[in-house]
């Protein structure tokens, strides 16, 4: 083989190796980028599954009219280390549970549940919804002044949400 042929061969080899390294690197990069997302999904899936079970426990306790226990179990749902983007789901759950306590004529428990968990929520829209429901629960108990205070708070948050 002449020297020119060796040169061409080595150039092709180097190019091939570089290309394969580049492709490999890109693949590793892509995998490492995907892995944390996958982990987060797995974690969220686990939390949701636990919350799903917990929700059913709460419903059973309510049916058994063990309302204090039901509230304690309900609180656990909101203490599971949820990612911030799950807030709408949690608001739905909190309002659903408080509504169900009220259907069982337990507005005090509903109010306590809402009061205990409002601090978990960072979005002012969520807070507005919760304060309104707190006002509704207070009104159900005939505590009109207290209800008005909760509605004032909700109104204030809605008009000028904190930055």
């Amino acid at each position: 083989m002449n020297p020119g042929g060796y040169s061409k061969l080595s150039t092709a080899l180097i190019t091939g190796i570089s290309l394969s390294l580049l492709i490999q690197g890109a693949a590793v990069g892509a995998v490492s980028a995907v892995q944390p997302q996958g982990k987060a999904d797995a974690k969220l899936g686990k939390i949701r599954s636990m919350a799903e079970t917990q929700h059913e426990i709460v419903m059973i306790l309510m049916r058994k009219k063990e309302f204090s226990k039901a509230m304690a179990e309900a609180n656990k749902i909101f203490e599971m280390g949820w990612p911030a983007d799950q807030e709408p789901l949690l608001v739905k759950e909190l309002l659903g549970l408080s509504g169900q306590f009220m259907r069982y004529q337990q507005p005090e428990i509903a109010l306590e549940l809402l009061e205990h968990n409002v601090k978990v929520f960072e979005d002012s829209k969520s807070q507005v919804a919760i304060y309104k429901e707190m006002g509704y629960a207070a009104k159900e108990m005939g505590r009109d002044d207290e209800a008005l205070e909760y509605f004032k708070k909700a109104h204030q948050l809605e008009k000028s949400p904190p930055r």
Binding site: S49, E52, E56, L89, E93, Q100, R103, G135, K139
Partner: protein, 183 residues
């Protein structure tokens, strides 16, 4: 008229302050009523004791002199001087006080109106939400009556349980595999 009412007028009668007709009426009553006559006599006796001493209660002229001399040696109150003194004692002061009062009144009225309007707004906000929630509950009841949840009694809270938002619990009904024949 009774004796008590006549007696109430006795002092005015003695001082000649009653109307002539009333005075005549009282004189006529005194002619007939012994107890009222005695009351009048007692009042006259008291007046005789007090009247000669009334002049003695006048302050002595020396006392006035003494008071005047004490006031004269007292330091005069500090007066406002310069620009502020002139300004404060002028009509500008009156105008400024009037303007300030008007501003305070306007601010007070504005604050009150604002407060009342805010209260009205919040009450409306509250009643809107309560109405909305009541309608929501009513709709839930209607839906539940029309399509009752399996295994629940209509109208019970259990029948209106909120759906589990975290997923679907899969309930698969199947026959009991341990069931013996004939049971």
């Amino acid at each position: 008229m009774n004796c008590q009412q006549y007696c109430d007028d006795l002092t005015a009668y003695m001082d000649g302050e009653l109307a002539p007709s009333r005075s005549r009426e009282l004189t006529s009553h005194l002619g007939q009523c012994r107890s009222c006559r005695e009351e009048l006599r007692a009042l006259q006796a008291s007046a005789e004791i007090v009247e000669p001493h009334i002049n003695d209660l006048e302050p002595a002229p020396e006392m006035w002199n003494n008071l005047h001399s004490r006031i004269a040696v007292m330091p005069a109150p500090a007066a406002f001087g310069g620009f502020f003194g002139t300004w404060l004692s002028s009509r500008w002061l009156k105008a400024a006080v009037g303007a300030a009062a008007a501003v305070v009144l306007a601010v007070g009225m504005w604050g009150t109106m604002n407060y009342l309007s805010y209260q009205r707004e919040v009450r409306q906000y509250m009643s809107d939400y309560i109405r909305e929630r009541e309608l929501e509950e009513e709709a839930l009841r209607v839906r539940e009556v029309n399509a009752p949840a399996e295994g629940t009694r209509v109208g019970t809270p259990q029948a209106m349980e909120p759906a589990n938002p975290f997923g679907v619990i899969r309930t698969v009904s199947f026959d009991n595999p341990f069931k013996t024949e004939g049971q």
